[in-house]
């Protein structure tokens, strides 16, 4: 118990520092990269004075560290601010408002926008991971247990093939084959669970190569360990050894992989896949926000994404130290 408490205290304090630094990097990037949100809020016809007035009012002309301090102050109370563009009633109002008529109170709160989009993204991610496991576990196990034989080759071929298919292209091809041509599944937008299936397949194709390789390498390495031969010598069958010991030991590197690589890939994949399918999740929300210079949304998503990354890494490390107590943190 003491171990767990010490572990979490230490890692959470490290994690908080990382997330604050990430927030600062993104916050600064947004403000030094060219592209003025005020121009989009007020539209191309607004006068220079109106622009300046609005920018000062929104605090965008203060020094960056002042803005950042103010922003972090709000974040600690759970308030990510309000969108520059999106109305509280849905729909966007960019470029249609004069300087006087623009009223921040009528803009949607960022937390609400994210809370609306998040369940969609989680559903897509969960289904994608499930599909990926469905493909990767049999192929990966086969390749690991029969290293150098045909299942091993199969693993190499399948993962080389899948990793070579750009997700944008796979997405379009699957829309063409499964939706446009045959009408089996719906594809664009979201009006029910069926709309998740094709996007999840694309996600699974992207994730499975890494899984296949990790599973096969990890299983094969364990078969070469001394304990495996010892178990056989002591009369345990190969089957028992694999089912009872190899799988458990192979799980540690797999968990690590999940933290370090998979979550980053998954986040990136979600963004792109949601964009291809106009799927109303976090990725779609963020990409639209980037094109509309909607800083509050981008900042919030970046902070939450990195916080999720840090948190998952922490849980993964904790889980692997629990499975294998020899590992130190």
């Amino acid at each position: 118990m003491a171990f767990a408490i010490e572990f979490f205290l230490r890692r959470i304090s490290q994690g908080v520092v990382i997330v604050i630094l990430v927030a600062f990097v993104i916050f600064t990037l947004l403000r030094i990269v060219p592209g003025d949100p005020i121009r989009i809020i007020l539209g191309p016809m607004a006068s220079a004075t109106a622009l300046e007035e609005k920018a000062t009012e929104l605090g965008l002309r203060d020094p960056i560290y002042v803005q950042f301090g103010r922003f972090m102050g709000q974040v600690t109370t759970g308030d990510f601010g309000r969108s520059f563009i999106r109305g509280a009633q849905g729909g966007s109002a960019g470029g249609s408002q004069d300087a006087v008529g623009y009223n921040p109170e009528s803009r949607a709160s960022v937390s609400a926008l994210i809370a609306n989009a998040l369940p969609y993204s989680l559903q897509l991610a969960a289904l994608g991971i499930a599909f990926a496991f469905l493909v990767a576990i049999p192929i990966g196990l086969g390749a690991g247990l029969r290293a150098g034989k045909w299942p091993d080759r199969l693993g190499l071929y399948v993962s080389s093939l899948f990793v070579s298919l750009p997700n944008i292209w796979v997405g379009v091809v699957l829309i063409f084959l499964l939706s446009a041509k045959t009408g089996w599944l719906p594809a664009i937008g979201y009006q029910g669970f069926a709309y998740t299936i094709i996007p999840a397949m694309v996600l699974a194709i992207e994730l499975s190569p890494v899984m296949i390789r990790a599973i096969s390498v990890s299983v094969a390495a364990n078969l070469g360990e001394v304990y495996f031969d010892v178990g056989l010598v002591r009369g345990l069958s190969r089957r028992t050894m694999v089912a009872k010991h190899v799988l458990r030991n192979a799980a540690v590197p797999l968990l690590n992989l999940f933290g370090a690589q998979m979550i980053g890939m998954l986040l990136g994949g979600l963004f792109v896949v949601e964009y291809i399918f106009s799927y109303p999740g976090i990725g779609m929300l963020t990409i639209n926000a980037v094109f509309q210079r909607d800083f509050p949304i981008i900042q919030a998503v970046a902070i939450l994404a990195s916080a999720a990354l840090v948190a998952i890494n922490m849980l993964v490390d904790f889980a692997s130290t629990t499975i294998d107590r020899r590992l130190k943190f």
């Binding site: 990269v33 080389s160 750009p166 997700n167 292209w169 091809v173 981008i298």
Partner: protein, 306 residues
């Protein structure tokens, strides 16, 4: 990966010659595999096509022609020469557009991987060699960088500014150097304890000289093999950026923009989307297969195989 490299590096002898021998043995073993020869020939064929195609094929990648729009590939009914793989919605030759897209993607992939390899390994070696506070700060920096998802960083920077090949390369390098830094640091930690480093120090070599002349040549080749796989990854990123509209801008053809524009004509002219994708997948496939075989050969040799 770190561990296998580290264990192999753990034997003494003169590391430079030893590793040169190892590199040659890895290459020899990799070349012995059928997959390697297959992948290399596909890659060579695509390279030749990309280099000479534009001069041999009598068509244009950018000139529009209303009479020739939506021509299917030559193997289908209605296809006609010289448009081997058909034309797009503006009558431009798809094969040539894809080849130019391939050339640009490959250039961006190679330059960005070389950049992230040099930057990452330099920081990693420095961090591992120096140790102490420098090491802690640099490694925390990699933590921060790795906690920003690549795609978020890319769409933020590229979506806000005007994307150009240089900014695209910069973003890719910025997003991916930490992986190399981590690996290089890990190996350097093991390496700096070795006798040859101590010997060089006693002989009066400067730290810079030790890092550049002694440590780098002995630890980098095994890492470089994996970089081949990253070239393919970066090419996919380039395609994604183009698809979203934050990559190389039209009229320069890129895979992303070709595929994105083709989606509107999917039912009537599927080849606009499918054809460039197949070419890209072939290129990526050959790179990945070569990278995969090299990686396996490296692991095999480093684990003491012949």
């Amino acid at each position: 990966m770190t561990s296998s490299t580290a264990t192999a590096a753990a034997s003494p002898a003169t590391p430079k010659t030893r590793y040169r021998g190892v590199t040659a043995r890895i290459l020899r073993r990799a070349w012995g595999q059928t997959e390697m020869k297959l992948a290399a020939s596909i890659f060579l064929a695509l390279t030749l096509l990309t280099l000479f195609g534009p001069y041999v094929i009598d068509a244009s990648a950018t000139k529009m022609s209303v009479a020739n729009k939506f021509l299917p590939p030559i193997f289908m009914e209605g296809g006609k020469l010289p448009h081997f793989l058909g034309t797009d919605q503006l009558g431009r030759d798809l094969l040539l557009r894809s080849l130019i897209g391939l050339r640009n993607a490959f250039a961006i992939g190679v330059v960005s991987v070389v950049g992230m390899f040099i930057l990452g390994c330099a920081i990693g070696i420095y961090s591992g060699y120096r140790g102490g506070l420098t090491d802690v700060i640099l490694m925390r920096l990699t933590d921060v960088q790795m906690s920003i998802p690549v795609v978020i960083l890319a769409i933020t920077v590229l979506g806000m500014s005007r994307p150009s090949p240089l900014t695209i390369i910069a973003v890719l390098i910025l997003a991916s150097w930490p992986v190399y830094a981590r690996v290089a640091r890990g190996v350097t930690l093991a390496e700096r304890q070795k006798e040859y480093v101590r010997a060089a120090k006693i002989l009066g070599a400067s730290d810079l000289r030790i890092m550049v002349r002694h440590i780098a040549p002995s630890i980098l080749p095994p890492i470089a093999f994996v970089a081949v796989l990253d070239v393919a990854r970066m090419m996919i990123f380039e395609a994604i950026f183009g698809f979203i509209g934050i990559g190389i801008q039209p009229p320069t053809p890129t895979f992303g923009t070709i595929i994105a524009s083709g989606t509107q004509y999917l039912l009537n002219a599927w080849w606009i989307t499918i054809v460039p994708g197949v070419l890209l997948a072939l290129a990526l496939g050959s790179l990945n297969l070569m990278g995969g075989v090299l990686e396996r050969a490296r692991n095999h040799i480093l684990q003491g195989g012949e």
